[in-house]
């Protein structure tokens, strides 16, 4: 990036009189034009020297008026919710909720009514923005099955029509390997014909194909670790392997925004779990120090081991983990590091090797490298990489290896082929150019959105781009208005985000062409004006358009 030299040290946690936000970092809009004047204040307590590249992350504060209006919005929705529940109770309004059968009316209710208040009265109104069925490849453009609802989203009808050529800003197809043609699909197809799709056994029993072991060797060499193991489901990779690694008497330090699978895995392990503020190194260090100094609660015995759980890219914030600092802390306090690269593997780093490569670090400094094949590789499943003793241990103790069916052969083949493509082992440069394309697309898309005046969260290099909507009514409105203009976006609200920070999330792909992105940006701008979404109070002057093809990596590699 253009401002590489000056602001290496600009990322600190608390400085400048701005109170650290929920994310633990300064929520203040690092815009291109503001670095110079803020830089001085930023020098204190920075670990800038750990970073080999600029680390620019912004979380602009929620404007006060917007926050007030958002709360009011929820207030009104709640009042109407109670009103309508009252009317449903008295059968004034027709009730569409599935009911318990008569024979079991006197059983204890299966779920509490108030649990469903939110679902019934808020989610149901805008339910059409989720679970939209698609009927083709989830590539740069996709086809949606058209559906309509005559009863305000309680039920859907399929009209039988297809909404064609919707620009896909929703799928995690970072490197564009969601394809039904090309080398991956061909290879997967051949294997389907030869092997079928199932395995019908576990790795330890009769489901260990030679191709599984080949994939594991490939993953290990891709990651630059001694050994690796692959699992058939990404979610289960976390939830079934963390319990094998940590147990009673161990401490797990988990980022507050970690994915549900990490949280579940930590819980299943039986370890003590403590949560640090998102990406906040001071919070992490404090927990580490306290843990070692005080030992286990009540018994005061020292912890057996401390495991730090973090993700590479956080899929709701678009932030990138401060890995250099985490590694420094982990070394200082002799903790172990579990890095979940579900979103960053393939999507970050000059050759797609994830967040470790992005920061120019040594993969050996991360004890457990976990990631998924769902996103960048266009397949499904997950892996764990690390030292040989770790993987040997997992081979004998992983819940997945013993109790869960092993990976489907065509899925396996898709991963092997796409990974070889990324590594350039197919003798072509397709993989490399896709990585560069993704990086360039990301920077371009984020810059344009910011220039339009939207509040964008996250790191400049993160292909996950959350755009703030705040108000609950705008969640549905944005999703619908975008689809009307043939663009598929993901909108997220509570409980996936804090209650006032509803957002839209765009996932940039290498498969997006500049025309597609420009079209999408025009539409976002149009809808943004319509719904008054351009909240940012830090207007950015449009910077002189740099040639689009210029990639960020070339600029940064000295």
């Amino acid at each position: 990036m253009t401002e590489s030299a000056g602001n290496k040290k600009e990322d600190c946690h608390a400085a400048n009189g701005v109170k650290p936000g929920r994310n633990g970092m300064v929520k203040n809009h690092h815009h291109h034009h503001q670095y110079q004047k803020q830089e001085k204040v930023y020098h204190a307590a920075c670990n800038g020297e750990l970073y080999s590249r600029p680390f620019i992350e912004s979380f602009e504060e929620t404007p006060m008026l917007v926050a007030v209006l958002t709360y009011m919005g929820y207030g009104i929705l709640t009042i109407f919710g109670y009103l309508r529940d009252f009317m449903r109770e008295w059968k004034i309004e027709k009730c569409h909720i599935a009911r318990e059968r008569e024979e079991q009316k006197d059983f204890v209710p299966l779920y509490q009514d108030f649990e469903n208040f939110y679902t019934r009265n808020l989610y149901m109104r805008i339910r059409d923005s989720w679970n939209r069925p698609i009927c083709g490849v989830p590539g740069a453009k996709f086809d949606l099955v058209e559906r309509s609802s005559k009863d305000y989203n309680w039920t859907f009808e399929y009209t039988g029509r297809v909404v064609k050529n919707v620009i896909n800003l929703g799928s995690y197809n970072y490197l564009g390997f969601a394809e039904n043609t090309g080398s991956c699909a061909t290879a997967a197809g051949d294997v389907t014909v030869k092997f079928g799709v199932g395995v019908a056994s576990t790795r330890q029993e009769m489901g260990n194909l030679d191709r599984h072991e080949e994939l594991e060797k490939l993953v290990a060499s891709f990651l630059g670790v001694e050994s690796a193991m692959a699992f058939a489901m990404g979610f289960a990779t976390n939830s079934m392997n963390i319990p094998a690694i940590a147990g009673k008497g161990c401490l797990i330090l988990s980022d507050e925004l970690n994915h549900a699978s990490l949280v579940l895995g930590a819980r299943l392990s039986g370890s003590t779990i403590r949560v640090f503020k998102h990406n906040n190194m001071q919070s992490l260090e404090k927990l580490l120090r306290d843990a070692i100094v005080h030992g286990q609660p009540r018994t005061h015995r020292p912890w057996k081991k401390i495991l730090i759980l973090v993700e590479g890219i956080y899929s709701m914030e678009g932030s990138i983990i401060r890995l250099p600092e985490v590694i420094a802390l982990k070394k200082k306090y002799k903790a172990y590091l579990y890095l979940d690269e579900a979103h960053s593997i393939g999507a970050l780093g000059p050759s797609g090797r994830g967040v470790v490569e992005y920061f120019g670090l040594d993969p050996k400094d991360v004890d457990i490298m976990m990631g998924t094949f769902t996103k960048s590789f266009g397949a499904s499943g997950g892996y764990i990489g690390g030292r040989k003793d770790l993987i040997d241990y997992l081979r004998t103790h992983s819940h997945s290896a013993i109790y869960a069916t092993s990976m489907s052969p065509p899925v396996l083949e898709q991963i092997i082929t796409s990974m070889k493509c990324i590594m350039g082992e197919d003798g072509m440069t397709i993989g490399r150019s896709r990585i560069q394309r993704l990086a360039a697309n990301t920077v371009y898309f984020r810059r344009r959105l910011r220039e339009m005046g939207f509040i964008i969260y996250g790191n400049n290099d993160s292909p996950v781009v959350p755009m703030m909507l705040y108000m609950p009514a705008k969640i549905g409105a944005f999703g619908r208005e975008m689809l009307k203009r043939n663009i598929g976006v993901v909108v997220v609200g509570f409980p996936a985000t804090p209650i006032i920070e509803s957002r839209a999330r765009f996932c940039i792909s290498a498969a997006h062409s500049k025309e597609m992105l420009d079209r999408a940006l025009d539409v976002i701008s149009e809808v943004g004006d319509l719904l008054q979404l351009k909240y940012s109070r830090h207007k950015v002057l449009p910077s002189l358009d740099r040639p689009f093809d210029e990639t960020t990596y070339e600029e940064n590699e000295e």
Binding site: A98, G136, G234, F235, T374, K375, F377, H399, S408
Partner: protein, 472 residues
């Protein structure tokens, strides 16, 4: 009286004037001290660590964590897996040797079915492999909806929901309903994924003896007594019975009609795990409900994986919409995981087609199961564990050597002996330390419709030989 009181008061005031100043000051201080004691916190809850920074540094310097994982010895019995080259179908190449497969849960032989393969291929050519998203965010494909509809229709329930992994299905379904404070009554033989679901739910878990309805009723009665003590609390505690249709660990069937009776008697909901019985039991392969002729609506939730009889990947839950729909927002493995690759869903749909077109296949499977069960009877040193209609049996040692490791080694020699003679068997694997009730060591024998009578006789003969040579 009145004057007497007055006199006391006067005297007190007088005494106050007469008292020396130091005395008054002392008393004043004492009073202040009492006030201070009254208002100050009695104890610091946590002992304050008055460690200096230097001491802290020393402690940090001193602390040595345990290694990340304990080292695994090179000859650990499960470190080196058997390697399968080529498709794991009826004929399977294990460690370079072509064998007849008696180890994969491919009960109906759908893994190698040409129709299934070609549907999967067509789907691949339409959708690609991955879905690149969870169900909520453009990860719902038309095939997923079709599969859910077909499963619901096949099982004759209102609704079905699919998960992208068999193990995650029941493990996610349980905590979607059962929360902290709720009670789950579980059979001791419950499989590992149920155990993980129980753990994730953080509910009270009460284990009853395997298939022992009296023991279950005892626990239910205990709970009833408990409820009467505190009826207000009892009104909000959900209760569930968790059982498997065919138990994977014991290869026997749950007494479903009795369970249903207990359900209504004590108002407990029933969740059934049918991974081993779906596509196996019943005239149309609908599982244990059909086997017993129990109304499927009496079961609150049925979960099964599509990795055994259907020979695809993934799992599903089915039941009434009131129950199932709740998982669409509360099933963790449903909401937070990428959805099932469409080609695997397409393969499962075609598997269902085959099952619907030819229900005779289940009769064939039952006959084969009976054959295998009969053929293995009387193997010296080994006992057959499981029902005659169960497609995945266990062969356990009649006389244990006394140590689990040695038993496993001994059984492994039988497996190796059979592998040499082209019969692919496998040990049933467990995590010794994690299992709540560790099943005894065993060899798994899996029956599929593809095995011919001759192959079954050969296999039984081979196992008998192995037993005679190695166990006697």
């Amino acid at each position: 009286m009145a004057s007497g009181q007055q006199w006391v008061l006067v005297e007190m005031v007088q005494a106050f004037y007469e008292a020396p100043a130091y005395h008054l000051i002392l008393e004043g201080i004492l009073i202040l001290w009492i006030i201070r004691l009254l208002f100050s916190k009695t104890y610091k809850l946590q002992e304050r660590s008055d460690l200096t920074e230097k001491e802290k540094e020393e402690l940090i310097e001193e602390w040595q964590p345990e290694p990340l994982v304990s080292p695994v010895s090179k000859d650990h019995p499960s470190l080196h897996y058997d390697v399968v080259t080529g498709p794991p179908s009826h004929k399977i190449i294990v460690n370079g040797k072509e064998c007849i497969n008696f180890a994969s849960f491919n009960f109906l032989g759908l893994l190698d079915n040409e129709r299934v393969k070609s549907k999967a291929l067509t789907s691949l050519q339409k959708y690609g492999v991955g879905t690149c998203g969870p169900r909520g965010f453009y990860g719902t494909f038309d095939v997923h909806l079709e599969l859910e509809e077909r499963l619901a229709k096949f099982m004759r329930t209102e609704e079905a929901i699919i998960y992208s992994y068999g193990f995650a299905t029941v493990a996610s379904a349980i905590p979607a309903y059962s929360k902290r404070g709720d009670i789950i009554f579980v059979d001791e033989a419950a499989c590992f994924s149920i155990q993980k679901g129980l753990q994730a739910s953080r509910s009270f878990i009460k284990y009853f003896k395997h298939n022992d309805m009296e023991d279950l009723e005892r626990l239910l009665k205990e709970q009833e007594v408990e409820d009467q003590k505190n009826p207000r609390k009892a009104r909000v505690i959900r209760r569930f019975i968790l059982a498997e249709g065919l138990y994977i660990n014991t290869a026997d069937i749950c007494p479903l009609p009795e369970l249903v009776k207990l359900k209504y008697k004590y108002k407990v909901r029933i969740f059934l795990e049918e991974s081993m019985s779906f596509g196996v039991l019943g005239e149309h392969g609908r599982g244990v409900t059909e086997h017993f002729g129990v109304n499927i609506d009496d079961i609150d939730l049925i979960s099964a994986n599509m990795e055994n009889a259907l020979a695809s990947i993934g799992g599903f839950c089915c039941g009434r919409s009131f129950v199932i729909d709740h998982q669409r927002l509360s099933g963790q493995g449903y909401c937070f995981s990428a959805s099932l690759p469409p080609m695997l869903a397409a393969a499962a749909i075609e598997g269902l087609n085959i099952m619907e077109e030819d229900p005779g296949i289940f009769q064939v499977l039952r006959e084969k199961c009976q054959l295998v069960h009969n053929a293995l009877q009387g193997t010296p040193g080994l006992k057959v564990v499981g029902e005659a209609f169960a497609p995945a049996l266990h062969l356990q040692l009649e006389n244990s050597t006394g140590s689990r490791a040695n038993d496993l080694k001994l059984l492994r020699t039988v497996v190796d002996y059979s592998l040499e003679r082209q019969i692919a068997l496998t040990l049933a694997r467990y995590l010794d330390k994690e299992e709540r009730f560790l099943p005894p060591p065993s060899i798994r024998v899996v029956v599929t419709v593809e095995q011919t009578q001759e192959e079954i006789q050969n296999a039984a003969k081979c196992i008998r030989e192995a037993a005679v040579n190695l166990l006697m």
